[in-house]
Point group: C4
Chain length 270, copies 4
């Protein structure tokens, strides 16, 4: 097979700029969605009883297609190792393995749900750059506030552990607080304002502690919100108000987008 043909196939499989490449990606996305639907439906007892055999057939056909696609990708790229160890390489492998695994371990095909991660390819198809850029901004803002978020989560978990244990002592097993781990679980359910209600305090002291925990959880949500808002704001301000221009005279940057003269040396900005 000539190198030109290989390069052409590479373009179709890995890129979405040409018409053929875009068609390939769209078909792939439809197959992935179909496969997630099949796995989901297979888990519904009443549907599985009637259409089980058909669903398993579709699953196997899709898995063989995806396996062929995976081998194709490994063969196409110059550095196979690099692709196989990349995020999408691992996801692609994880999304075919469970079907073969299901021959040995019954029920493991539910792990095929990892295929949903492949849907992230969707951002490649339409307006690639923009959406990936936005996603990158989200990730950047998170990373910048990582330290604050770790401190915050530690504080939440510690408060939940201590107040949860108090509830275990106050309410006791007869009201559903049967152990410290279970009381900790209840405290998290309460602080995050989820509130299933499967465990709920019955005594007056217990309800008082619960009230404290709720008001705390209700108010404390302001903290991560504040952190992320400020990070976003900082990112946006830099992106919008500062141009990427560099002064040709003193080589300094950080000029306002509408500046005509360097604010450090007075030289005209070109």
């Amino acid at each position: 097979m000539s190198a030109t043909l290989k390069r052409k196939i590479h373009e179709i499989v890995f890129e979405a700029d040409t018409k053929a490449g875009k068609t390939f990606d769209v078909v792939l996305l439809i197959l992935i969605l179909l496969s997630i639907l099949v796995v989901s439906l297979e888990s519904v007892y009443t549907i599985n009883k009637v259409y089980g055999v058909a669903l398993r057939w579709i699953e196997w056909v899709l898995t063989i297609l995806f396996t062929f696609e995976y081998i194709l990708r490994v063969w196409l790229v110059n550095k196979a190792r690099h692709y196989m160890l990349s995020f999408f390489g691992i996801v692609d492998l994880l999304s075919i393995l469970p079907t073969f695994l299901s021959l040995v371990i019954v029920g493991s095909q539910s792990l095929l749900i990892f295929r949903s991660l492949r849907l992230l390819r969707i951002f490649r198809v339409f307006k690639l750059g923009r959406y990936l850029g936005e996603g990158q901004q989200l990730v950047d803002a998170m990373r910048a506030s990582r330290a604050k978020i770790i401190v915050f989560v530690s504080a939440v978990l510690t408060v939940a552990l201590i107040l949860g244990t108090f509830m275990y002592l106050v309410e006791g097993a007869e009201n559903g607080f049967t152990s410290i781990p279970r009381s900790f679980y209840w405290a998290i359910v309460t602080m995050t304002t989820v509130g299933y209600g499967d465990i709920a305090p019955q005594t007056v002291i217990g309800q008082s502690i619960a009230t404290l925990l709720m008001v705390l959880g209700y108010g404390i949500i302001a903290v991560p919100t504040g952190i992320v808002s400020v990070e976003f704001s900082a990112k946006k301000n830099v992106a919008e108000t500062v141009s990427t221009q560099v002064c040709q005279h003193c080589s300094k940057e950080g000029h306002d987008a509408d500046a005509h003269y360097c604010k450090y040396c007075g030289h005209h900005l070109l």
Copy 2:
């Protein structure tokens, strides 16, 4: 009928500046509210049993009035198609059809609740401009952060699908996680901190995954909040600190509200 009369009726029906126009709109709003109340009460079994006939009579009278109003509007506007395909045109049609439909399909009159969308006319009656402007600002801020919101919602749905499937494998049908779709539903209920409690994890591993999902959902709410805050902030800053003045010499705009000289060419701003 003279064109003057037609223009006068047009003013009364479509505008709210004159006294007659305002009265028309207020009466219309009261009739819409009454009609929503009637549809709601009709759905309450005990009320329907006693006052059912009376309620259906009111409904028919209101529907005929609204039908007459719809025909009037179509006749009044110059471009009937334009109105019929506009947002309010479709809503006006949708809010009369179900009554006629109920002659064929029993129970379809509940769809009359679409009439509540007609209530949006309320903003036309008092201080029209201002409230519509505020609504526009909300819509603009949303639109500006559309890409970020799509990325965010995709991430939430993917996490809910994967962790929901894990719960299906871990908890199983005996604890209420009967299928992947149902487990996905539970994951969304948990991540959004709604927490009905109709399905709740019972095993230790299940409760651990649930804890992770709750803390994730609790913290992740900060992301859309941050996005929208920043967009609002940007909109407001532009609106407040930048005047709408245009330099008469170089025709550039974007000057600070208190600037006396053009910051681009130095010409005096009038």
Copy 3:
């Protein structure tokens, strides 16, 4: 009684600057708290059965004290009408009436809980100005974003009404959605992420609509948060970066806190 004495009593009752005035307010606050506690305890069946008579005695003594205080206040102020129609005047009256009313209507003394509004006096006792100022800032920020909040709440209620009605059609009475008002109530419970779980969707379509409503409610909370954040931010920026200085030459204000010269006419700021 001399005018001097009257002025002295006025100072004690209405102000908290002198030692006597502060003592009066602190004693009053303790009595209010005691009275709220008494009303609350009276409503607990087991406590009422044993200590009911004693509690009712305390209630009557407190009510007579508060009545005396109310008459005193009316007598002290120059414009009695002005006080009686003010916020605190109405609250003071509302907090004594229910006890007398309970002679006629059994159970109406629970309305004494209005006394809790009197606790707002607490901000007068310690660092009056500062806390009232902060409260004022909160109220101002709310008022400034009133129009946006009305638009937002209208949108939430309309969405809840329409999707609630859909649920009524889809789920029906057998799954708890017995009427449109009840389905609307469920939609609000879901959108605000409260999620009692007393009504929960059982069908697949119902759970899909619920999922949509939850994601909507989860994301939409960002809107009021963004609005209020921006308002606070604007208030704070003005308060911090702009001084209250007025140029003595051109009478303009809005100068930066650290400016030495008027930015409009160049005159030295004193």
Copy 4:
């Protein structure tokens, strides 16, 4: 024992800069985590029945180790009182007392969960400064908005008390609203959007008040979020845009990070 040796031990026990000091802290953290795990597992009935004796043995060994560590710390520091009354001194004591107390009062060893507070030492081990600094920023932002938060929490509690009492009057004991304190508890559960569902309104009026309370609670969360966002934002802006430079001529600070000349006296900044 020589002073040099004492200083060396001090360095190992109190600091995490040297290799030995870091090892000491890491081992300590592992022992604390182990001890929390032991206390938690001991509270699980089925585990306690089988491994109870072993768990209690581990607990005693750990407690004796921690007691030795506490005595060591008291002996090492110059001002023993200062350490004993510091936050970590009290936590260290609280985390050994319950085991000894359990000899007298059965079940009190659950209080050992206070040991989780010792985990805060974790921030000392890796990148000490940074994480402590972030924690300090969180605390500072909270402190700066303390007055606003007190006003906000007072308002929430007052609204919950008044609307809770209304629910007690409207719904009554037969629907679970057995007393004012319990109705207050329900109002808090609803306003904070926790929504257990153990108590839920059944009457139409009750559900209307609940709807009001939910929309209120849902919208009002914007207030603390706004407060904290603005505080964070202020802190960050100061930290980022203002340099720590001091003018050598007029000794004023607060200059922009990129300023070359003092904005107060015009002197060149070095």
